[in-house]
């Protein structure tokens, strides 16, 4: 019986160890992603800003009209970069899933959209990296429902490996412009080994709505 116990313990330790390593990896990937975002987005923008400003500087006397055109482009880029810094920083302070559920509640209420949300207690035991990922996705999905769906009702369900956000609005439609929200979400989910799917809540209806599902 002692032998059995020891064996069990060893097995547990192994499992525990791999779980820890898994989480570690997830966290370090997230950090790398933030790093890449900062680097790619801002490094690139600042390089272009520098080059264009230098060009404009030379053109001030020779061709003032062209100088102004270059500066307009610099301005567009620098404002865009600032917006991206804001997003990236928001991203670094990822909220806890519990807190995010609370603010989804407040935001939907304020927008006059009826809702069904899980209790914070029901997600308390989830793995930390998963809580963080779900919090991200919930934030973006609910922001989209409020901004784009025109829905009157929104239902969120969360289990350990699945998050769904369903609304009864106009649906994604053909006019859906490719924003950063969904593509950023898809990247994150893919990095974590999961999938993102988008579909209709009520297929066939003239208000089909949108259902977003994250599956890990």
């Amino acid at each position: 019986s002692l032998v059995i116990m020891l064996a069990l313990r060893l097995a547990m330790e192994r499992e525990e160890r791999s779980r820890i390593l898994g989480e570690e990896l997830a966290l370090s990937r997230q950090r790398e992603r933030v790093g890449r975002d900062v680097h790619d987005v801002l490094g690139h923008s600042l390089t272009v800003i520098t080059l264009k400003t230098e060009l404009a500087r030379r053109l001030v006397d020779a061709d003032p009209e062209q100088a102004k055109a270059e500066l307009d482009e610099v301005l567009e880029l620098s404002r865009q970069s600032l917006a991206e810094v804001r997003t990236t920083v928001g991203g670094l302070h990822a909220p806890d899933l519990g807190a995010q559920l609370a603010s989804a509640r407040t935001a939907l209420q304020a927008a006059g959209i009826a809702f069904r949300l899980p209790e914070a207690a029901s997600v308390a035991g989830f793995r930390p990296d998963r809580r963080e990922l779900f919090a991200w996705c919930l934030r973006e999905a609910v922001t989209n429902v409020i901004r784009h769906s025109g829905a009157s009702h929104c239902t969120v369900t969360i289990t350990a490996d699945r998050l769904t956000v369903a609304d009864d609005g106009t649906g994604l439609g053909a006019s859906a412009s490719p924003g950063n929200g969904l593509s950023g979400m898809r990247h994150r989910i893919t990095d974590a080994g999961g999938t993102l799917s988008l579909g209709r809540t009520h297929p066939g209806s003239d208000r089909p709505g949108t259902t977003l599902e994250v599956h890990l």
Binding site: R79, R86, V89
Partner: protein, 155 residues
């Protein structure tokens, strides 16, 4: 210094700029001064002297950075409101950290915009708060929304 006489709307709108970054302050002052109906009458680098300067120079609109040494912009707005001079406060910030918008509005600020707001829009925001309206930058409101507090009910 021109002393306006007669009605309240005579003469340019008198502005105070409070920001601890001299480069930002200088650029904002230069940009706003290009507007014919706006006059920058004071620039300060920290929040402690804001309220006294507002009273002394009869400032109409104070543009306040949030992160400043001494008194921060939100507390400076509170001090301005407490003095009852009628001066309006417009918070001009780089970022909308959680709780900033709510605190600013509670402190009596009339507006909340980002520092990189295009100059024409910023001038328009100044005119709006001067006219008694509230101006909240939608991108900052959204930031606060995702951070937990609720700008939608504050409109």
């Amino acid at each position: 210094m021109t002393i306006p006489t007669g009605g309240a709307d005579v003469g340019p709108i008198r502005l105070l700029l409070a920001d601890d970054q001299a480069l930002v302050r200088g650029a904002l002052a230069a940009l706003l001064s290009m507007e014919h109906d706006l006059e920058v009458v004071a620039q300060v680098g920290d929040g402690t002297t804001v309220a006294a300067t507002v009273a002394e120079l009869r400032v109409d609109v104070a543009l306040l950075d949030i992160d400043m040494p001494g008194l921060d912009g939100i507390e400076a707005a509170r001090a301005i409101a407490a003095d009852g001079t009628g001066c309006r406060s417009l918070i001009v910030t780089t970022f909308g950290r959680p709780g900033y918008l709510r605190r600013a509005l509670e402190a009596g600020a009339s507006g909340f915009v980002v520092k990189d707001t295009p100059a024409e829009q910023l001038a328009q925001a100044v005119r709006s708060v001067h006219a008694g309206r509230r101006v909240v930058d939608p991108s900052l409101a959204e930031e606060t929304l995702v951070s937990g507090s609720n700008p939608l009910t504050e409109r």
